[in-house]
Amino acid sequence: MTSVSSGDTAWVLASTALVMLMTPGLALFYGGLVRRKNVLSVMMYCLGAYAVVSLVWVLLGFSLVFGRDLHGFIGSLGYAGLRGLGIGTVWHGTRIPALAFVGFQSVFAAIATAIIASAIAEKGRVDSWLLFSALWVLLVYSVIGHWLWGGGWASRLGAIDFAGGMVVHIASGFSALALALVAGKRRGVNSVEPVPHNLPLVLTGTGLLWFGWLGFNAGSALAANGLAANALLVTNIAASAGGLAWALAAWLNHGRPGSVAFASGAVAGLVAITPAAGYVGPLAAMLIGAVAGMWSYYWVSYRIRHGLDEVLDAWAVHGMSGVWGSIATAIFADPSVNSVKGLIYGNVHLFLAQLAATAASIAWAFAASYALAWLVAKTLGWRIPEQAEYIGLDLSELGEEAYETLPS
């Protein structure tokens, strides 16, 4: 029986608080990108999903990911309601309390869910979204989480995902694509591009995401050690490279770099380094981040060209850079960081295992989310009356306005 390390525990608790701040950060990022009449509803999608998942996670989600393995597919319900996890329990394979691990994983599941709100921004019912959030975390996130982190088939095959390239970003990104296809296009918008009302909110949100992401990736070491330090450093590098790369791509294509371009690129870089943060060094991180910035820029343009109203680009940024990061992990894994060899060190097996896990994550996230979104569409429904959409979701869904001061 290993004992608890106070240093490891302190770092994981602090990281949990850092990751928590990512959800309000995402709320600001998304909130600034929509029109002023919808900012509150979009922010509440994020915060509401956070609260729903925090509860569902303790009741069932944690157990589905980390419970005893059932056929490599999902965890058992042995930990449902956190049964058997007391304040004295040390989480296996670590020197932190099991409850610290539960809390850390809880804020991961919450931000992953909140990311999907991109798909229904400016159009989706709040109650339908909260129902979807609860179902999604149990039937999509928990399944893929178990495959990679709970001892499921993908991890046994040898696939690796340090902090959630597949579990968090591919899962949320491709689920957003499925949800957008089910929910349909916004009415009264001339194109599928978002119409930002407050870019300083977007940039503030980006800063908070970046800040929290240091805990997201470095906390995933589950220890206060050199691996955590490496993860923190490469995370910061990839974010910087991604922001500059996307801004450069926008500069070359439109003659101006743009603040949203920089912000989106930083997030793409952060996404791409997430699966790799515990396996690659600083120089590979620059490349991973820079490619992510260009790559997701391409997919945002692709989405707009094809008229897909996945409003805030969770698919193009989180989904597609999640794919790139997961594959890049298998290419650049450096044995001097974490004794895992990537393709450039001659390890073909990891590369193939990673391709299989990535493809399976995409397929499960898209298909299961499509089915869940369809189910919600057929029961509660996703859309509000056209007139209510014109007035804005803040007034019609919440009965509030963000900035208006006139008495009504």
Partner: protein, 117 residues
């Protein structure tokens, strides 16, 4: 005589109205974000078993100065055609006579020429 055309329109119709005015050669305009209501006293929406009342609705107020009187009807037609939906709340167009209308650039140039003369 110059006329001032003021139109209260749905916010989402601004782009269409702009294009329609451009098409008849009237690109200049001033746009204000306003709140207002008509005879229906706002909007009563019923959905999901609940009624919500929105008293003052965000709208766009568009002001166009028309220097050539013969253009006024075409401006009215362009705005009304582009802003029409057939539902209550499509808005209103009013036309006011302008007592005086001058461009600051031209008038200012005249002033400064006189000063230096």
């Amino acid at each position: 005589m110059s006329k001032l055309v003021i139109a209260f329109i749905r916010s989402e119709k601004l782009e269409a109205v702009k294009k329609a005015l451009e098409a008849i050669g009237v690109p200049g305009m001033t746009v204000l974000e306003v709140h207002g209501r008509g005879e229906e006293k706002g909007i009563e929406l019923t959905y999901r078993g609940k009624r919500i009342h929105i008293d003052l609705i965000p709208r766009i107020q568009l002001e166009v100065i028309v220097d050539d009187d013969s253009l006024v009807d075409r401006v009215i037609n362009a705005i009304a055609g582009a802003a029409y939906t057939g539902n209550p709340g499509d808005g209103r167009i009013i036309v006011l006579g302008i007592e005086k209308s001058l461009r600051i650039r031209e008038y200012g140039a005249k002033l400064s020429a006189e000063k230096h003369a």
